[in-house]
C-alpha cells in the first residue's frame, strides 16, 4: 500500500479533529476531537515507521508513548470537566465567560 493513502487518511482525521475542536461547544466532544487528532498523529508515525523499515522503529515506540500520555491527559481533562459540571450542570464552553479580554 502506498504511504500516500495512509498520510491522506491521517490528514483527514486530523482535519476532522481540528474542525471538532473549533466547532463544538461541549467540552467532552472537544476532548474527543483532540483524541482524534492524536490518533491521526499515531497513524502518521506508524506509517512513516513502516516506510523506514527496521530503522524507523522509533516511530512505533513514539506512538505507544503518545497513547500512554493521552490517557493521562484525558484523566486530568475529565476531572476538570466533572468539576465544572458539578458547579454549572453543563459543560458548554461558550458559557465559560467569567473572564474576557
Amino acid at each position: 500500500m502506498p504511504i500516500t493513502y495512509l498520510l491522506i487518511l491521517s490528514s483527514m482525521l486530523f482535519s476532522i479533529g481540528v474542525y471538532g475542536v473549533l466547532a463544538r461547544q461541549n467540552a467532552v466532544l472537544i476532548l474527543l476531537s483532540i483524541e482524534l487528532m492524536l490518533n491521526a498523529v499515531n497513524i502518521n508515525l506508524v506509517a512513516f515507521s513502516a516506510m523506514f523499515g527496521a530503522e524507523g522503529v522509533a516511530g512505533q515506540v513514539f506512538a505507544l508513548f503518545i497513547i500512554a500520555v493521552a490517557a493521562a491527559e484525558v484523566g486530568v481533562g475529565l476531572a476538570i470537566v466533572i468539576l465544572i459540571f458539578r458547579n454549572r450542570s453543563n459543560v458548554d464552553v461558550d458559557e465559560m465567560s467569567l473572564m474576557k479580554w
Binding site: V41, F65, A72, V76, G77, A79, I80, V93
Partner: protein, 513 residues
C-alpha cells in the same frame, strides 16, 4: 548465560530523579503526617487555630525544599563534570548533558523553591490541601528540567506533557473558585490542542529524517549536514509546527489566547510559577531546537519567528494597556516579554542564547515577586486584583509599594534594575545579528509597555480622598521573604549583572553530534 548489566550514567537526569522521588515522598508523607482539612467547610479563608504559617505544617514544604536543594546540588555536580570532560549525551543520545541544560535546571529549581514557599503560606491561609500542591510543583519542575536537557523529540514531548499536565491541575487548584475552574478548563483544552500540533510536527520531522534524535548517529543534525537543501520541505513544515507547539507554551501571539484567562484564574503563586517556569522551559527547548539543531535551516524558519516576535511584542504591549485586572495586565506583559526573548532567538548567536537565558532568569525572579505581592493583597478569593484596588497602597504599606515600584520598573526596563540589563543584552544580540529593525519595534513596544506599569504606580501613590477600601496586605514571614528576595535580586542583578551573564555565557556550550 552471563547477564551483562548495561552501563547507565544517571548524572544527566539526576536532578529530575531527585525531584520526582521527593514528590513521591511528599505524597506518601502527606498521607501520614499531613495536616489535612478533614471536612469541606464553607468558611474558606480562615486558618484553623493551632495551624500557623510555621506551626505544625512545616514538614512537607521543608521536604520539598530539600528536594530542590538536592536538585541544585546534583545539577552543580553535572556542571563540574561538563567543565572537566565537555558536553556529552546520555541514555543512547536521549539526554544532553551540557552547560545549557545545567544553567536552566538551576534556575528552574530556584523558581520552584520560591513557589513552594509562597504556596505554603497561600494554602495555609486558605485552608487548602498542601501535599498535592507541593508534589505537582515538584513534578512540573522535573518536567521543565527534562525539557532543557532533552536531546530527542520523544523526550521533549514527554517533558512537555509532564509539566503541562501538572500545571493544568495547579491552575484549578483552588477548586471553590469559579474563575479558577474556568481557567483550568481553557488552559487544558487549548494546551491539549496545541500539543497535538507539536506532535504532528514531530511526526513530520520523523517522516522527513527517519529519526527523532537531535544529535546521535543518523539524527537530525547529521541528516541536515548530508542532505541537499531541496529535499527539506517536509522537515521545514515539521519545524514550523514545532514552533507552533512551543510558541503556545511560552505564550507567543497568535497562540496566546489562554494566557490572560489562565493567569487570572490560577492562584497567584501558581501564576508566578507559570510565568517564570513554563516560559523558561519552552524557550529552552526552542533555543536548542532552532539555534543549534536547525541552525542550517535558519533562513527558512527565521521569517516565521521574526513575524511571531514582532506581533507578540506589539500585541502584548497594546492589549496590556487596556486591562483593568492586574493579573491580566501582567499576563499580557508576560506575552510582550516572550516577544522580547524571541528577538534573542532570531539572533542565532551565542550572545543571543546567553542573553535569552539571562533575560528569562531575571524576568522569572521579578515576576514571582510581583505575583507574590498580588497574592498578599488579593484577599482569600483573590477578588481584590483590579488596578483600582491598589489605590492608596503607598499610604497603607509604604515598603510594599516601594518594592512593587521597583519590580514594575524592572519589568518596564528602567536602568539600575535587572530588566534593563536583560533588555540590553537581548537587543544587543539582535543588533549584532543585523536585525536592527526588530529591535526598533521592540523599543517602541517597551515604550508602550512603560505606560501600563506607570499606571499602577500612579494609582498606588495617588492620595485620594475616596478610597473605598484600603489595600490590606495579609502576609507572613514566607511571603515577606520571597518578596524581599525577589526585590533584592532585581536590584542586585541590575547593578552587578556580570557574574550571572558570565554563567549564562558558559551555558552556550551544547552537546554536539
Amino acid at each position: 548465560m552471563d547477564f551483562v548489566a548495561p552501563k547507565i550514567a544517571l548524572s544527566g537526569i539526576a536532578p529530575e530523579i531527585a525531584l520526582a522521588a521527593t514528590a513521591l515522598l511528599v505524597l506518601l508523607a502527606d498521607a501520614f503526617i499531613g495536616d489535612r482539612p478533614r471536612t469541606l467547610r464553607p468558611e474558606h479563608g480562615s486558618a484553623r487555630p493551632g495551624s500557623g504559617i510555621l506551626g505544625n505544617r512545616w514538614h512537607l514544604p521543608l521536604l520539598s525544599l530539600i528536594g530542590f536543594g538536592a536538585a541544585v546540588y546534583l545539577a552543580l555536580d553535572a556542571w563540574d563534570r561538563v567543565d572537566a570532560t565537555g558536553a556529552t549525551t546520555q541514555f543512547s543520545g536521549m539526554i544532553a548533558v551540557d552547560g545549557f541544560s545545567v544553567f536552566v535546571k538551576i534556575t528552574l529549581a530556584v523558581f520552584g523553591a520560591l513557589t513552594i514557599l509562597l504556596g505554603h503560606e497561600y494554602l495555609v491561609r486558605r485552608d487548602l490541601e498542601e501535599g498535592e500542591f507541593f508534589a505537582l510543583v515538584l513534578f512540573s519542575v522535573a518536567g521543565m528540567m527534562l525539557m532543557a536537557s532533552s536531546a530527542d523529540l520523544i523526550v521533549t514531548f514527554l517533558a512537555l506533557e509532564t509539566f503541562s499536565i501538572a500545571l493544568y491541575v495547579l491552575v484549578g487548584y483552588q477548586r471553590s473558585r469559579l474563575d479558577g475552574q474556568e481557567a483550568a478548563m481553557k488552559y487544558f483544552l487549548l494546551g491539549a490542542f496545541s500539543s497535538t500540533f507539536f506532535l504532528l510536527g514531530i511526526a513530520l520531522v520523523f517522516g522527513a529524517t527517519g529519526s527523532t534524535n537531535l544529535y546521535g548517529e543518523g539524527g537530525i543534525t547529521s541528516f541536515l549536514a548530508t542532505t541537499p537543501a531541496a529535499d527539506l520541505s517536509l522537515l521545514v513544515l515539521g519545524a514550523g509546527l514545532l514552533i507552533v507547539g512551543l510558541g503556545f507554551k511560552v505564550a507567543a501571539v497568535p497562540f496566546h489566547m489562554w494566557t490572560p484567562d489562565a493567569y487570572q484564574g490560577a492562584p497567584s503563586p501558581v501564576t508566578g510559577f507559570m510565568a517564570a517556569g513554563s516560559k523558561l522551559a519552552g524557550f529552552a527547548a526552542l533555543l536548542r531546537l532552532l539555534d543549534v539543531v536547525l541552525f542550517p535551516l535558519r533562513w527558512d524558519w527565521r521569517p516565521l519567528v521574526i513575524g511571531i516576535a514582532v506581533v507578540t511584542m506589539i500585541v502584548g504591549s497594546i492589549l496590556a494597556v487596556v486591562q483593568d485586572d492586574i493579573k491580566r495586565m501582567l499576563a499580557y506583559s508576560s506575552i510582550a516579554h516572550a516577544g522580547f526573548v524571541f528577538t534573542a532567538v532570531i539572533a542565532t548567536n551565542d550572545r543571543g542564547i546567553s542573553g535569552a537565558l539571562f533575560y528569562l532568569a531575571t524576568y522569572g525572579l521579578t515576576i514571582v515577586g510581583a505575583f507574590a505581592i498580588v497574592a498578599v493583597l488579593g484577599g482569600p478569593e483573590e477578588r481584590r486584583t483590579r488596578v483600582n484596588d491598589f489605590r492608596g497602597l503607598f499610604a497603607a504599606h509604604p515598603l510594599l509599594a516601594g518594592i512593587l515600584t521597583l519590580l514594575m520598573l524592572s519589568l518596564a526596563g528602567v536602568p539600575i534594575t535587572s530588566g534593563f540589563v536583560a533588555k540590553l543584552v537581548v537587543f544587543g544580540a539582535a543588533v549584532e545579528a543585523g536585525y536592527t529593525w526588530v529591535v526598533v519595534v521592540g523599543a517602541i513596544a517597551s515604550a508602550i509597555a512603560a505606560f501600563f506599569y506607570l499606571r499602577i504606580l500612579v494609582v498606588m501613590y495617588m492620595v485620594d480622598a475616596e478610597v473605598a477600601e484600603e489595600p490590606k496586605a495579609v502576609m507572613g514571614p514566607l511571603s515577606i521573604g520571597v518578596i524581599g528576595l525577589s526585590a533584592a535580586a532585581t536590584l542586585v542583578l541590575g547593578l552587578f549583572w556580570s557574574p550571572l551573564i558570565e554563567l549564562a555565557e558558559k551555558a552556550t556550550f551544547f552537546a554536539g553530534p
